[in-house]
């Protein structure tokens, strides 16, 4: 549906207590005025499913020593029950939804926690009701926490089995000494084991409020009825009684290269990390394009340098786009032909080339056309749309979903050289080696 038609339709819907804000490229924004809940609706009448997602602005950046991993553990406990949905009465939320074929789960990341359900459209109201109820009436107990802790600990252990995850944790930990991006979302094992139910309850009461959340609905649904349902199930909550705990810790300037070594049975690999700004910084589109040029496919620079010559089995670049300043990570999984030190040298030479000679017009063209495909893929089905919007909501402004692809299309070779010179500095880097070391 063209935006102008959708806008007219969306703005003319009168649901008392819900204020229409704007429509941008098929996404209409509303606010539940009583409690500040943001609502995003993305209708698609051609499908027979609909998705509901609640994104809370709370993640591992809101944790500190002693309760690292609390956001994630709490996410697990949010399935234990709420006032209306009680497992031992046969109305457990996951069973009710899964019995209708729902794809449901929740995820936790640095800046956010999200809960989602993709369901046949006729079950959307149940999903909204469940999310509305557990926002403020989750009933998890000390026993629930004790039962769930080993489950989460096993999730932690699974990650530790993978060399890349172990190295990734070590690199973030070295790169950030003050900011809570220092620790991973899963948290430290001892915190997972020992955090108290009181601390988790406090965490829930600090952050799980409508004015710290966005409800997104995508797929086939009746807009007016859906807004009424959201009002009915989320409108019963007040806004938070006190301000959300602020994160005032800032990462001090890094004054020299940092190095970490993980010696364990696994796979030889290196990771080179550089500090980059937050998702909304003007340099971010160029950094994301640089990542694409370096590793997106078999024509990328690092693929040709490492994988095509069988010096590595895999090269991956992650330009983290987060709420706060983050990292640009390059992982290389080595074959026997390449030593760690040599891989690091080759990689640094590749980034140095970008800073001195830039990238070609063809590389820019490729990155831009690839972005057109990936932008379209973000709308390929309700789940894809919800999960893509989720990451933009987490950065603090959902409209980045619209603005970022546009900014990306304006990136020039000069911009790429500029970011390579500005951020790919040895003194701002953290180098990690994973060395396969039999015990």
């Amino acid at each position: 549906m063209p935006d102008i038609v959708l806008k007219m339709k969306a703005s003319s819907l009168k649901v008392p207590g819900i204020e229409y804000k704007q429509t941008l490229e098929g996404i209409s924004e509303y606010v539940l005025t009583k409690n500040g809940l943001r609502i995003l609706l993305v209708p698609d009448s051609a499908t027979s499913v609909a998705g509901c997602m609640v994104t809370y602005h709370v993640g591992s950046r809101n944790e500190a020593t002693g309760y690292t991993g609390a956001t994630h553990l709490l996410e697990h406990l949010m399935f234990k029950g709420s006032k209306k949905f009680i497992k031992n009465k046969g109305t457990g939320m996951d069973a009710l939804l899964e019995n209708r074929g729902a794809l449901l789960n929740a995820t936790t990341w640095f800046d956010r926690t999200n809960y989602y359900e993709v369901v046949p459209s006729e079950s959307l109201s149940l999903a909204i009701e469940i999310e509305g109820d557990r926002m403020r009436t989750a009933t998890f107990t000390k026993k629930d926490k004790e039962d769930e802790m080993p489950v989460v600990r096993n999730e932690f252990e699974r990650g530790e089995n993978h060399p890349m995850e172990a190295l990734d944790k070590a690199v973030w930990q070295a790169a950030f000494v003050a900011h809570p991006y220092h620790h991973s979302t899963i948290g430290w094992r001892s915190d997972i084991e020992n955090v108290s139910i009181e601390r988790l309850r406090e965490f829930y009461n600090d952050f799980y409020w409508p004015n710290n959340a966005t409800v997104t609905i995508a797929g086939n649904f009746d807009t007016k009825k859906t807004l009424e349902l959201i009002k009915k199930y989320f409108g019963i909550h007040t806004k938070s009684p006190k301000p959300f705990p602020p994160l005032y810790t800032q990462e001090p300037k890094q004054e020299g290269e940092r190095r970490v070594l993980v010696k364990r049975v696994g796979t030889d690999m290196i990771c080179v990390a550089h500090k980059i700004p937050n998702a909304h910084h003007a340099d971010m589109p160029a950094l994301v394009m640089l990542a694409s040029i370096m590793s997106e496919d078999k024509t990328s620079r690092l693929y040709k340098t490492f994988v095509d010559k069988a010096l590595a089995t895999n090269v991956t670049v992650y330009p983290y786009q987060l709420h706060d300043d983050a990292l640009f990570l390059t992982f290389i999984t080595l074959t026997e032909k390449l030593a760690h030190e040599k891989a690091e040298k080759l990689l640094k030479e590749e980034y140095s080339k970008i800073a001195t000679t830039g990238v070609s017009a063809l590389e820019i063209k490729q990155a831009k056309i690839l972005a057109r495909s990936s932008t379209a893929e973000r709308r390929d089905g309700a789940y894809a749309l919800l999960s893509s919007l989720n990451e933009e909501i987490a950065t603090g402004d959902w409209k980045r979903f619209i603005s970022f692809p546009k900014a990306y299309q304006k990136v020039t070779s000069k911009d790429i050289m500029h970011v390579a010179k500005k951020y790919f500095l040895d003194d701002m880097s953290t180098i990690g080696y994973f060395k396969n070391t039999p015990s």
Binding site: D94, E98, V151, E157, N161, E336, S373, A376, G381
Partner: protein
């Protein structure tokens, strides 16, 4: 009422190829899934690695274009293409903008029919494969899976896995002739599904034209030795040091194939025991939720096809500290399920769930493309896309109980890999 089938065009070519074209409301996205006959099942022993190397080399240069030109041609259009192999087939997966479908299908056909398999590229592919295999030697999931397959199948069975060391050794020996003689892909048995922002009439013409370069005849379905190994309860532990969790497989080979009428009830039964999702499977509700012994436990059917038996398999990760307790608890819960868990209510719930999740799964171009490809591989008519939920609904408790009798639930073997406490 309009059915899903009404929106899909199927072309059945005289060569035996089946092409599905499904326009959807997706904008600027076309997803392509397909396969041709010719995979590791066509090869014996160590030669099975030839299929994997061949798939990796398919886009490494053709008689028409070198690898740089070929890959750039896709990249400048934002298109992706990859090849892989397993079972009887070599698979391809692609995505592109609507205006590039003709080109992408042309390149797929070119790779399948005119790849050069240059000696220098083969040597590089072998080195990469060796690297990946060395990496997998320390992967608990991979090693437990290999051990499980070798324990349950006899070494003549198509699904019997090579050890990683055997695969490394075999990889070293592969010569260019091995690849070229294997890579005789044809249209016979080919499946191609195209889903998304498509105009059927145009795509039909473009695809038919592009496929002309592929020979009508290629591999046929390989002949397989039937499963004859007697099942015995055997537990095995593979040690890899420094691992924090233990990958654990339980199960047994079932002597039925996907063409057997018992297969659909079997898949429903498996989902009742250990379906994906948070709590729709009995084992997630008990071993994870009630006992806290794992983060994930699920049951699946693996290795089954129209002409191969497969494994009724349960997989979980357990903490080293509670490993023995978890294995015992899982064995006990499997028996509890088979004695008390198969009820009319549990079946009805599962039927509703599967019908709903089927619909949800079709909600993206990739989901629909995969289902169409599977329909093609299984030799089902296109109408199956609408019939599947109805067939699920028709399954009775009696059929579920009958298929349950085929499962040696008291003697499931266990293979685990990790570091024991």
């Amino acid at each position: 009422m309009k059915t899903m089938q009404d929106n899909i065009t199927e072309l059945r070519l005289p060569t035996g190829a089946r092409i599905f074209i499904a326009p959807t409301s997706a904008k600027d996205v076309v997803t392509i899934q397909g396969s041709v006959l010719g995979g590791p099942h066509h090869l014996k022993g160590g030669k099975k690695v030839v299929a994997r190397l061949c798939a990796e080399l398919l886009d490494a240069g053709t008689k028409i274009r070198d690898k740089y030109l070929l890959r750039n041609l896709l990249a400048v259009r934002g298109a992706t293409l990859s090849f892989a192999s397993s079972g009887d087939r070599t698979f391809f997966s692609a995505s592109c903008l609507p205006e590039d479908v003709k080109l992408v299908v042309t390149i797929i056909a070119e790779c399948l029919s005119q790849s050069l398999f240059e000696a220098k590229e083969l040597e590089l592919a072998k080195e990469r494969m060796r690297g990946a295999l060395m990496e997998s030697k320390n992967d608990t999931y991979v090693q437990a899976g290999i051990g499980f397959s070798r324990l349950l199948y006899e070494n003549t069975h198509a699904n019997y896995a090579l050890t990683t060391d055997e695969a490394i050794k075999a990889c070293k020996k592969v010569a260019r002739d091995d690849i070229t003689s294997f890579a005789s892909f044809g249209q016979q048995g080919m499946i191609l599904s195209l889903v998304g922002d498509l105009e059927v009439k145009k795509i039909k013409k473009d695809v038919l034209h592009a496929l002309k370069t592929i020979s009508p005849i290629g591999h046929t379905v390989s002949k397989k030795a039937p499963h004859t190994k007697k099942h015995l309860l055997t537990d095995s532990f593979i040690t890899i040091p420094d691992k924090k969790t233990i990958d654990t497989f339980f199960g047994a080979v079932l002597s039925i194939r996907t063409s057997n009428p018992a297969y659909l009830p079997l898949t429903i039964l498996i989902s009742m025991l250990g379906g994906g999702g948070l709590s729709s499977g009995h084992l997630m509700r008990t071993i994870r939720e009630r006992d806290g012994l794992t983060y994930v436990i699920n049951a699946t059917s693996t290795g089954f096809s129209v002409d191969t038996e497969g494994i009724f398999q349960i997989w979980a990760t357990f903490s080293p500290e509670t490993f023995r307790k978890a294995v015992l608890a899982t064995r006990k819960e499997i028996l509890t399920f088979f004695t008390r868990g198969i009820t009319e209510k549990a079946l009805t719930n599962k039927q509703t769930e599967l019908s709903g999740s089927y619909l949800v799964g079709l909600g993206s171009t990739l989901g629909l493309a995969r289902v169409l490809h599977k329909i093609g591989m299984d030799g089902k008519p296109l109408s199956y896309i609408d019939e599947y939920p109805k067939l699920v609904q028709k399954i009775t408790l009696r059929e579920i109980n009958e298929v349950a009798q085929l499962i040696p639930k008291t003697t499931f073997s266990v293979v685990a890999c990790g570091t024991i406490a």
